[in-house]
Symmetry: C2
Subunit: 283 residues, 2 copies
């Protein structure tokens, strides 16, 4: 597949343990810029959206069709895309504003995932791994610190594997950042890990920040799109397991956005907001 | 595939909501007795066991090979099998003794799963669903009560979907019974649900009993078998999430069996023991 060489180069870079390295950002940018014309050669298929207020399409290459893409969030004009990327990689994400930042990151994520879907060589984990690298890099570059993937449980010597942990040093709370392309039933793991961190280290030493791509599901036969959301279950997790400080989405489901006005409150926002409020989340 | 008609009949029976019905047991027994000669027509392939003290083989039908089967636990003599089944379904499981009960249930589980592996039509969830029905029936018949699959969260009206819940009535603790063919990283869900139950209903109102088939993994190219175990993580879950009262396996990994002598203690045993100690676990 056309992406495999730049993707392997990206993974090699990441394996050196320096996710915050600007080279990682450049590799992502180059890969997506390479992917873009490939995607544009695919057919665009309009999908029947069963999600109020959102329009979705997919790329198709012969028999293979990509995951649904939110039309309002995907930047398909190469000139605009290039300009946003430039802004983005000059570490000026904040200046883009939360909404443009969200669209830019959505396009970075979706270009790879959609092209991968239309080629589908290799194992299914690749888009999820790419998404983890993308978000991991953005967080690491913005926070100026590289993440680890485990915490040492006091007085046992046991290392518990976790999603990304960003230790900002000093007495600042650390960030616990699970990253998922979609959640479905597996999301309870994020709250359970947060509970363990609270139990081991005490309250508010680690702040939970869950980052997700979307909750869309395509019904391939009908070419229709639904969002699969379980807000009632999330409320139970937030009340009886642990507190997630933020849940960020690139394509925010309305059912989750409304959790910010309920009890217990869960603040669900577009990911772009992280870059304007990160400082407040880490004191 | 040869099992699809009896399997669909079994699922139809179960859909009526009466898992404890002896007809469910009969349907399982008939299905496995039907599967047995089919399996015997497959080739038996010896596997290189990297699990100390255990011998594994697999059934092969042309290109397709089954999951690994523990030789000491699998009853391959049809006469013995029939006799055990008869004992079993006369509700005299206790009289078989824990070890023979474990072997009988292991054979009931593996015959279906292995035959399914060698045919592999339909979706991958089928062996997991069958295993859930098998264990659900055995628990329901033994306890004399049918399970539910959700709990109502007090003062919210929210129904949280769970694995099987057996409510024995009166002031007896209820049983929370997650069932998995293997655990890998997904097992944290069982502890997290137990934590929620403890938080919502108070300590010791629900007792967690996790039931698993095995943790074997076949390396297909080398035809070798390993067990994938994460005992350190389980200890963290048992200490910081909730207490599992028992973990039962049909093919118990030694690394988990040893958790019964550690801190915090996790009692991991062959499933056959449930039927001799169930009364003590439910008071």
């Amino acid at each position: 597949m056309p992406l495999s060489a730049p993707y392997l180069a990206l993974k090699a870079l990441v394996r050196r343990g320096d996710l915050s390295n600007p080279e990682v950002g450049k590799a992502i940018s180059e890969m997506v810029v390479t992917a873009h014309p490939e995607l544009m050669r695919c057919d665009e298929v309009a999908l029947r959206s069963e999600v109020p207020g959102k329009t979705y399409f997919a790329f198709r290459d012969g028999e293979r069709i990509s995951r649904p893409i939110n039309q309002d969030l995907f930047i398909s004009d190469p000139a605009v895309l290039r300009e946003r990327f430039d802004d983005f990689f000059k570490d000026r994400l904040g200046s883009l504003g939360p909404d443009e930042a969200t669209r830019t990151i959505y396009t970075l994520a979706m270009s790879f995932c959609a092209l991968y879907d239309t080629k589908k060589t290799g194992d299914k984990k690749t888009p999820a791994t790419y998404f983890e690298i993308l978000i991991g890099h953005l967080f690491a570059a913005h926070l100026g610190v590289n993440p680890t993937n485990a915490v040492k449980i006091v007085d046992t010597g046991v290392k518990l594997p976790t999603d990304f942990i960003f230790d900002l040093g000093g007495t600042n709370p650390k960030l616990h950042v699970p990253i998922k392309t979609s959640t479905r039933e597996r999301v309870i793991q994020a709250w359970a890990h947060q509970r363990i961190l609270d139990g081991v280290f005490g309250a508010d030493q680690y702040r939970g920040i869950l980052v997700c791509l979307a909750e869309t599901l395509m019904k391939v036969k009908k070419l229709s799109v639904v969002e699969v959301c379980l807000p009632d279950q999330w409320r139970v997790y937030q009340r009886f397991l642990a507190k997630m400080t933020r849940v960020y989405y690139l394509d925010v489901p309305d059912k989750y956005r409304l959790l910010a006005t309920g009890t217990p409150r869960i603040d669900v926002k577009p990911l772009g907001y992280f870059f304007t409020e990160a400082a407040a989340l880490t004191v």
